[in-house]
């Protein structure tokens, strides 16, 4: 159980985050510069917050009021860095052993051997980090961290330094490691797909501020806020004005919308690009548009639409539709089409 409630200022950037995480994998999802890594650094104790409190399994790691600030050495937090931070002048074996202390040499050696075996590093004991591939380096880093028996695991964008073909395999391995880890794990990422696959709940961060912890599935179905919707991959959004219990005016799309839920105090409506249809599917929301661009992607076609009644030329007065290739055969740039949006697919956002 990890409790974090901290504030820190760096020049004009303000970090203000609070969250709790049980014995699960909590994702911290945010754009670059949203304060994800600084949050981890504060928890690890390598950076000191300005004020707040951090507690792990009932043990206070930091408390500005009680003037408690445990050094990183005594926090027992395992931190996987983006670049893995392997000690370049130590062999694989020495790297893995570097986090084990306070035990007799025989036990230490046994633990190193055990980690080397369970992370498929047999035969590489005497190699130096620069002689290993990116995937092997990550395994060494994880072996080193787990050999030190941490109470909390923190992974900072673990796949960002890897080639895409390696990611999938390492993701599977990491998933197994996370399942076997008994304590809390924090997984920092800006990749919504990784988060969806690996984590149970998610904390979104936007410009230093964190929102509430939500189950991962809920984030994708009901993001709640505009920044969470954008992080979850929603590409279309418009400002709205409530017109009734099931109606709103989309200002940027210039269309009256029928909504499944009461818009209440929502300020935006969002629609995922693959839910926008150009065939009449009987949806009550029909937005007349002109096709601006058609871009062929690997397995789909991306059509950028300009709503005819839209105000202004800003980016969000466009609609992006991602369609199966066979449905876009006859379309040309400049054509007039109608975009259909089902009320149930609309996300109402604050």
């Amino acid at each position: 159980m990890l409790t974090v409630e901290i504030k820190k200022r760096f020049g004009s950037f303000r970090l203000d985050t609070r969250f709790e995480a049980g014995n699960e994998t909590l994702a911290i999802l945010g754009a670059s510069g949203s304060g994800k890594s600084v949050t981890l650094q504060c928890v690890a104790g390598v950076v000191t917050p300005d004020e707040g409190r951090i507690a792990l399994d009932g043990r206070v790691l930091y408390d500005s009021e009680k003037k408690i600030n445990l050094p990183p050495q005594r926090r027992h937090v395992g931190y996987l860095f983006q670049n893995y931070a392997l000690f370049p002048h130590m062999t694989v074996e020495e790297n893995v052993a570097s986090g084990i202390r306070g035990v007799p040499k025989a036990e230490r050696d046994a633990r190193v051997r055990e980690k080397i075996r369970s992370f498929y590093l047999n035969g590489m004991e005497g190699k130096y980090p620069r002689q290993l591939s990116g995937g092997q380096q990550q395994r060494v880093a994880l072996a080193r961290i787990l050999a030190s028996e941490p109470l909390l695991l923190m992974l900072d964008e673990p796949f960002s330094a890897l080639d895409s073909y390696l990611r999938w395999q390492l993701e599977q391995e990491l998933s197994a490691t996370l399942c076997a880890f008994p304590g809390t794990a924090l997984f920092v990422s800006h990749n919504r797909d990784e988060v969806y696959r690996l984590c149970g709940s998610v904390l979104t961060m936007d410009r230093g501020r964190s929102e509430s912890v939500t189950p991962v599935r809920a984030l994708f179905e009901h993001p709640g806020t505009l920044s969470a919707a954008l992080l979850s991959g929603c590409k279309n959004y418009s400002r709205i004005q409530k017109t009734g219990p099931h109606g709103a005016l989309a200002l940027d799309w210039g269309a009256a919308l029928v909504t499944a839920e009461d818009p209440a105090d929502a300020a935006y409506a969002g629609i995922r690009a693959h839910y926008v249809s150009l065939e009449n599917n009987g949806a009550p929301n029909a937005v007349p548009c002109r096709i601006l661009h058609i871009v062929e992607d690997v397995f789909q076609t991306i059509v950028t639409l300009k709503p005819l009644a839209a105000a202004g030329d800003a980016d969000f007065s466009r609609l992006r539709a991602e369609l199966p290739k066979e449905k876009t055969a006859g379309l040309r740039e400049g054509d007039g089409v109608t975009a259909y949006i089902r009320p149930g697919d609309l996300m109402l956002l604050k």
Binding site: G45, P72, Q73, N83, A85, F87, P88, S98, Q131, I145
Partner: protein, 227 residues
Amino acid sequence: MDLSPLLISIKVAFTATFFTFFLGLYAAWKVARGKRFKGVIDGLFTLPMVLPPTVVGFFLLLLFGRRGLLGGILESLAMSVVFTWQGAVIASAVVAFPLMYRTARGAFEQMDQTLLYAARTLGMPEREVFWRVVLPSCWPGVAAGAVLAFARALGEFGATAMLAGNIPGKTQTMSLAIYSAVQNGDDEKAYLWVAVIMAISFLTLGLMNYWTGYQERAKRRAGNADG
């Protein structure tokens, strides 16, 4: 043939480099990690590099002279460094210090911070973090600083002349011997010491290049082994 300038030079340069190495390392680490008064302290540590060596020697003489702060303490212990080879060590160490300090500080500041973070979160005590992680990963910079400091200490003239004098067989280093030889019109002797100093300098340079080249080659070999 009196070889004493060579022996004195080597004795003085090695001893001075030894002290400067550890003091410079310590100062560089403290300043690189420190936050307050960084500019002032950095300026103070760099001063011997920008001041003329005779001025440094003058200050050292004030400090270590009979009425000086440290000189008084030493005198009460019946010791003095003025006009001794220990004085030459102090003068060389002080003049060589900024080279060691600045090069090591640069290496520490350019070091990958995540290595430091990783060592700490893995529970390594601070002392071990420095000796097992920081120093080995900054070694090329630190070694370069030590070589520069040694070269500077070996060639030291102004401050040494002020504090230790130019006493043949006692404090006369090769640099001072060249000066005396030229003063006395003994060109042959001057040429000899110039040749010796140049030989040592080229040897140092060559060793340093060989060493860095050796490391590069080792790295490349290791890289190829992987595929």
